[in-house]
Amino acid sequence: MQAYINSIGIISPQLTFDGSFLSAPIVHVESQFLMCEEPVYKEFINPVQLRRMSRILKMGLGASSICMDARSDVRPDAIVVGTGLACVSDLEKFLLSIDDNQEKMLSPIPFINSSHNTVGAQIAMMRKLTGYNMTYCHRSFSFESALLDALMLIAEGGVSNTLVGGIDEHTEGFFKIFNLLDFWRKKSVDNLSLFEGSHLGTICGEGAAFFFLEKNRQDGTLAKITDVQTFLKECDASDVKGEMDAFLGRNGLTEVDVDMFVLGRNGDSFGDGIYLDLERLLPESCGIAYYKHLCGEYMTSTSFALWLAAQMLHTQKMPDVIIKNPVSGRQLRRILIYNHHRRKEHSLILVENADL
C-alpha cells in the first residue's frame, strides 16, 4: 500500500496556511497553549454556511479548501477525517445548555454540530462530494487510522484519490479539564524552550491539516506515504524499538534505511523518557527532529509532523528550529514519524521521497 501526497492544506499555530514552509518568522510565544494562525475564512467558505460554524469547522473547511484548490482539476473520491476530540466546543455548549435551561427551549445547532463527523460532512456538503466519508475519533490514533483507511481505499482500487485530514481545536473547556490530569504546564512556557529542563506537562496546541493522497504521481507531488501502524500498550523504548524494527522489516527496510526520525517529544517528563531512550537505541548517524514546540500537543499532531516530513522530502530543506541531530552529507530519502500519547498509544508513519 502506498499513496502520493500531491497537495497539502494546513492551518497551524505557525504561518502555514499560505503554503510557506517555516520561512516566515517562527511563532514564538510565552503561554500554556498555541493557537492557529488563521486565514480569512470568507475566502473559502460561503457566509451562509459559515454562520453556524464553530472554529473547528472553519479550520477544517479552510484547510481542506486550501488542499483541494491546489489540485483543482481533480475532485476527491473519498474524505477521511481523524479527530481526537472533534467538535468539543459544540458538545460542551449543548451539554451545559441542558441544565442552564432546565431541558427546555434548547437551540439544536450545537447538538447538530457536536456530531463527531461534522467536519467531513461539511466538506462533502460544501463541494457536493458524494463518495466515501469516514471519521475516526480515537485519541492519538485518530489521524493514523484515517491515513490507514485512505491507503486501503487507494489499494482497493475503488478510488484514485482520497482527501485525508487530521484536526483538533483548542478550547478553554478542554484545556481546563485536561489540566486536572496534568497534561499541561502549570506556568506559561516559551514554546521554543519547550525541551529545556524537566517539567511535568506540555504546551497545548491545535491544528488542521489536509492531504490530497493519490494513486498516481503528479508534477507537484511532495512525497509518498508507504505505511502506517499503531499499537496500544504501556511499554518502554526497547519495546517501541522492537515494533519499529518489525514495521520497517515488513517494508523491506532496517533502521539504517531511515534518514530521519521525527519524534513526538513534547517536553513533558511524563512521557519524554521514551523518546530520549529511543534516541539512544537509534543509529548515531541518523537525523532526529522534534515538532511539538511549533504546533503544541494535540491528538492529531502527527498530521503536522506529516506536513513537515513531506515538505522536508520535497524541498530537501531541514529547518534548524526542528533539528536535534542533523542529516549530513546525504540526501533525505526516508522519514519515520514516531509519536506516543501518555506512554500507551504509539504510532509509526513511514514517508518517502516520491522518487523511491
Binding site: P47, V48, L50, R51, R52, M105, S107, P108, I109, I112
Partner: protein, 90 residues
C-alpha cells in the same frame, strides 16, 4: 413608525442574532421577502431557531406545521402574529 413597523425592526435584529447572520444588517432584510429558500436562504434548522425565538421572546408556541410555515413566511407575517397575540412589549 407604526407598532408593526417597530416590531419588524425589533424582529430583524433578533433574527440576525439568533441565526448568527454576521454580515447582514437589519436594512438588508426585506420585511416582505420570503425567509426560506429565496431571500435569506434559510432551512429547516433555522425554522426551529425562529420558533424558539418566538417562544423565548414572545411566549408564542405553535405546534401545527402548516401554521408554522404560514407564520414564518416573512418578517412581516411573524410581526403580525405577535401583534395579534397582543405580545408586543410596551
Amino acid at each position: 413608525m407604526s407598532k408593526e413597523e417597530e416590531l419588524i425592526e425589533e424582529l430583524k435584529t433578533q433574527i440576525i442574532d439568533a441565526l448568527s447572520l454576521e454580515d447582514i444588517t437589519p436594512a438588508d432584510i426585506d420585511a416582505d421577502a420570503p425567509l426560506f429558500v429565496e431571500g435569506l436562504g434559510l432551512d429547516s434548522i433555522d425554522a426551529i431557531e425562529l420558533m424558539l425565538l418566538l417562544e423565548r421572546n414572545y411566549g408564542i408556541r405553535i405546534e401545527d406545521p402548516k401554521k408554522r410555515r404560514e407564520v414564518l413566511t416573512s418578517v412581516r407575517t411573524m410581526a403580525k402574529l405577535i401583534e395579534s397575540k397582543g405580545q408586543v412589549k410596551e
